[in-house]
């Protein structure tokens, strides 16, 4: 019975693919002119792959917070917007809705797609650093422990003095999607649950821990590329470990010169970056863009860029059979916004 259902589903998907493809080739419904999609920087590769097959699509890549700022600006008029959709991890469209609702502004975004792709939030860590941290953090490396040792001399936490201070890397949550989601996961590690609230940030112990992690993360590296990019390019001098998505870390580490020195940890509590496409409210091309990103082409592009997509093979460098949690394991969107503000406060 299962097999029969699977066959039916497959046939239906193929039929849908033909339909969507034929619509996208001709411009499809909802207008047939050009359309513009803003892609969060973490999704740039998938968007570029999709653009290559769809000349009518213009892709703009920028940090998620920049788009969020645009969409929540007082003068933003969705009807006059030059963008038709936003491909980004799921909490961000909800953050836009919440922010605009608070100011009494109307919706800037339409109903997002279902989750198109997922990627576990991971920690890329040099093997010798991982080994050295076992004495202090145990077998299971967590952000809670990383925050506790951040900025300490390695000589005091089981490593070599020549490694300098413990240098964790988190991209800036005030700018990037991965940075904010990573901070959310890190805080969940400290609280022991993702069900925490902004008023919990008043706990002095949490604040001290978070400040240590944030300051150590923000103060290292060259500022060029993500912390993982810098680890890969410059070696352990840049960062000892870095928060990332599996999508970014898996393929890049597996093909890097340091693949034998660098590993990936899936820290508890599990969390994922779940990707959606949110059309801009009132956009004529919004529905067409939405269909494109729900198409098999988009699924293949996302999977090819390292994201987990149902029905698509895992990209090179990813473990093939990783079970993903039921939800994204992150706090509510409003809490993430508060966490971003806290990060800015403690690193100011």
């Amino acid at each position: 019975m299962r097999r029969a259902l699977a066959v039916v589903a497959a046939v239906a998907m193929i039929a849908l693919a033909f339909l969507v493809r034929s619509r996208s080739d001709t411009g499809g419904g909802g207008g047939d002119g050009p359309a513009t999609v803003v892609c969060a920087r973490e999704l740039a590769a998938a968007c570029q792959a999709l653009q290559a097959k769809n000349p009518w699509l213009t892709v703009v890549t920028e940090d998620a917070n920049r788009t969020l700022t645009t969409l929540t600006a007082a003068g933003f008029d969705p009807g006059a917007a030059e963008i038709d959709g936003w491909l980004v991890p799921a909490p961000f469209p909800a953050m836009v809705d919440e922010t605009r609702a608070r100011t009494g502004a109307g919706s800037a975004l339409g109903e997002p797609t279902k989750v198109l792709a997922r990627s576990p939030l991971v920690i890329a860590v040099w093997n010798d650093r991982r080994q050295a941290l076992r004495s202090r953090c145990g077998e299971d490396l967590t952000w809670k422990c990383i925050g506790e040792v951040a900025g300490e001399p390695w000589g005091d936490v089981g490593g070599q003095a020549s490694w300098g201070e413990v240098k964790p890397g988190l991209a800036n949550p005030a700018e990037t999607a991965i940075g904010l989601l990573g901070a959310g996961q890190a805080a969940a590690s400290w609280f022991g649950t993702s069900d925490y609230a902004a008023n919990d940030f008043a706990d002095p112990a949490f604040r001290a821990w978070f400040e240590r992690l944030a300051r150590a993360s923000q103060s290292s590296g060259t500022g060029t590329g993500t912390p993982l990019d810098q680890m890969l390019s410059l070696g352990p001098a840049a960062f000892d470990l870095a928060g990332s998505t599996e999508a970014a870390a898996g393929p890049s580490i597996s093909t890097s010169r340091d693949k034998d020195r660098l590993g990936i940890v899936y820290p508890a509590p599990e969390a994922t970056a779940d990707v959606v496409l949110a059309p801009v409210a009132g956009s004529e091309a919004g529905a067409r863009v939405k269909r494109l990103f729900e198409s098999p082409d988009a699924a293949a592009a996302l999977a090819g860029a390292g994201w987990r997509v149902d029905g698509q093979p895992a990209a090179t460098g990813l473990p093939p059979d990783t079970a993903l949690p039921a939800d994204d394991g992150l706090p509510r969107p409003g809490v993430l916004q508060a966490l971003r503000s806290l990060w800015e406060d403690v690193t100011r």
């Binding site: 103060s219 070696g235 001098a237």
Partner: protein, 609 residues
Amino acid sequence: MTRSLRGRLVAAVAAVAVLAGAAACTSKGTDEADDLSNPGDCKVVVDVAVSSEKIDLATELAKSFNQQKTKVGDSCVFVRPKSKASGEAMQRLAEGWDEKAEGAPRPVIWSPASSAWGAVLDQRLAAQGKPAMAGQGTPFMNTPLVIAMPKPMAEALGWPDKALGWSDLIDLTTNPQGWAAYGHPEWGPFRLGKTNPNFSTSGLHAFIAQNYAAAGKTKDLTEEDLNRPEVLDANAKVESAVVHYGDTTLTFLNNWYRADQRGNPFTYASAVAVEEKSVIDYNTGNPDGKLDPGEEPRKPKVPLVAIYPKEGTLFSDNPFFILNASWVSDEQRQGAQAFQQFVQQPENQQKALQYNFRPGNPQVAIGDPIVTGNGVDPGQPQTLLQVPSPAVTSSLIDRWNEQRKGARVLLVMDISGSMGDTADKDRNLTKLELAQQAAIDSLDQFKPEDEVGLRVFSTNLGPGQNQTYLDLVPIAPVSSNGEQLKTRIRDLRPTNGTPLYDVANQSFTTMVDGYDATRINAVVLLTDGKNEDGNSRDDRQQLDDAVRTLQSQSQGENAKPVRLFTIGYGADADLPTLKQLAEATNGAAYNASDPKSITKVFTAVVSNF
């Protein structure tokens, strides 16, 4: 009077840039885009400004890329790299890049040696209320700043078993016994080579690193840190050990190599802050990183080793900035992105290794020549220093101008008759008039405490018409004699012959006699001709005597190092002889054979102080 950072950057390293840029532009005059002067039928031209150390690699890659005829829309893309020193390019971009004045097109891609320059550019634009132009670049290839030392000297300090850093150098600097404290009195005091951070990325990185080390930090360097007494004190100690500065590390490496060939590399400099790639260049017998026609690499007798400072270091990451500038079209941007992707391809990144850089693409393994056999360690560095905020970086540069070692300089100018020849027909200016203006401008680059004097030379000078030189302004602090210097330079008039050897020798001796160990002691000698003192029969003997005198005073642990920096001015200058004289003192010879370049050359010369 203050040293003008702007002025220094304006003129700066352009002499090198002009030469390298010219070298990159040879015309075949065909319709084919097969060289870098003629785009042929390619309509999308992507001009690239790259720092001078990678112009050869960038040119090689551009030629390969251009052959592919990559298309943007209906047209192919043509990439055209030009050499431009990082600091100077930053300044030009901050000012909007005047193509006519610059004689070079505005770049679509800018690749300075370090991302720090991009941050400084954006900060300066922000100060003008303008949007960022550089943003975040893509690293092209990497090389860390290291402290290069002759291997026996590093071993005397405990290397390789002991991790060394800036703090060890400070200790050695302040030790009155110098190298004798380490069993080597024959090496004399500790002597450090560092370049001028206004022009040189390694100079900028070295100054950042020494400030971090003094502050005991690896990140978050602040203005408050820079004001801390222990930081100021440490800077004073480090700078006190400096041999001289300059716009490029190549001067140090070339001088070191020559000293090595003479059998004693130990007393010119004990350590020089350079990029890792320069250590490999040196140890493979190619100290300036390029082989001139007929040259073959000859390994030094005493190799250098790279000390990766235990306090941490910085990388030159050679980023590609696709500029967010009004002059960059969408097509050029796409073309630039295509070229950027091209240079990141593994087979092209492999070429970075051929030039002794570490590939920026992490897929390309770091291997030969980044190996211990070449004096470097691919496993290092272990700690990276944070690039300070653009505001702090700018402040550091300004502070260096105040904290650098003082100078005691005798400016020796040729006023022979040929200096009256016309050099700039458009403005109807003679060689002397151009040199006068350049010399006057250069005075603004000294700090008030620097001591400068003026000597002119020709034949038949003085009341009895029997002198070869006249001291017009005695050596004194610029704060007291600056206006007098300008007036006397302005009043110079061309006269008779060119008693070059005699004056070089006597000027050097004058400075040795008044040697001040707390300062950089130097002679800047400008001449447009060859030795012409009315008696050509003893020229050979005079030159030999002069070189012997200069060398004998410049070598050994007890030498009083007075550097001779020569400027060969105009087409008739005797450049080989000037080079010989300068190198005899471990100074450097500068080429201003195009008289219009004299301002830039003067600026480069004064960057040594």
